[in-house]
Point group: C2
Chain length 243, copies 2
Amino acid sequence: MVYELYYWPSIQGRGEFIRLALEEAGARYIDVARMPARAGMGVPAMMRLMEKAPAGRLPYAPPFLRAGTRVIAQTANILLFLGPRLGLVPKADESRLWAHQLQLTMADLVAEVHDAHHPIAGSLYYEEQKREARRRAGHFRTERVPQYLGYFERALAANPRGGRHLVGGSLSYVDLSMFQVLEGLDYAFPREMRRIRRRYPLLMALRQRVKERPRIAAYLASDRRLPFSTEGIFRYYPELDRT
Amino acid sequence: MVYELYYWPSIQGRGEFIRLALEEAGARYIDVARMPARAGMGVPAMMRLMEKAPAGRLPYAPPFLRAGTRVIAQTANILLFLGPRLGLVPKADESRLWAHQLQLTMADLVAEVHDAHHPIAGSLYYEEQKREARRRAGHFRTERVPQYLGYFERALAANPRGGRHLVGGSLSYVDLSMFQVLEGLDYAFPREMRRIRRRYPLLMALRQRVKERPRIAAYLASDRRLPFSTEGIFRYYPELDRT
């Protein structure tokens, strides 16, 4: 099976959670919107599929995945589908729901990260909502980040199979996503994260282990890995970080 | 099986999506936090379970569901679990993922509804972010609501089994949730919704059919149905509605 991933070609964004899973599994996939439009791919191919998906199952927004005749959207839903197929989640139904529950909580965090720089509207430029962003980012950094990271740290500590993984006793797509969230927070709020990271030793160790996995390390060093930027979900604006 | 639902006792909130599914199915359930603390229930029982859940599978926040020895959190995840058990989603794996995809898109909408009145921080009162709320709610009403409702209307129209249901040819939990979202938008933005509702004939007909289902009608008339209020996710503040 060659998977087709559809996502905006110039940012990590939500597509990155899918890319990390495909890369760790060594899966064959095409990042369609990053391929040339003259080859029938690129953003136009993504747009066509959004307007007319098989069985009327329209995506609301990228990312979405084509697997054979199926088109599946919503980041966490794609990982729910891919997890078992890529061997990136335990087999038991209970574990899969638990993995998905953690992934959905990360999705909530990611939506909040976005709104920290766009608290008024996604249709406006950052510069048009800078004052509000400063206010929201302050609360996000000092209240929400500790609340979320504290939760994930507790979830690691409470894992009966040990605190090295979020789900069961081996690596899952949830660990890969957690790595991405922590990298993103470090990029967006370097001063704040430097101050609070020591509170989350299990998370920091998990992040390091993911980064050193051979396929992930190779991916991060490749040009398939797009850089963080002020076009993505995690954005670095010095004025939104701790002063 | 008697299900135990855990959610804040005085609001509809995200718990309402679960209640509607349980009610339509005629399932036996206890709305634990609304029961007396002296009987070992109430909010204290909810808090205890948040700190110590079976197998270390901690909920990040209410709502969560106890089903036997399992504790499951995240609204859409709970419905993913309950759907097949309550007969509220088709059997095919493809249909279940599609139902879940729609539910996750509704969850995104619900998070945005909340932030329309709380664009800066959930920890602040509405009055402390009223100016920003006015700005965000304007964009939400005129850009986001049409974008989301237009999407769901198209999804109904694209259903190969006809435009009476969002998933397949019969009622699913997704239709129940859609009903709740439409009721909530009507409550929060009555003037805006009066103006735009005619654009969404399939959604409006779906909402009406859900409302008239015998068990839903009985539930809505009962004291188990809490009222909308300015404590919930959908809130009516006249200054945030269309002028």
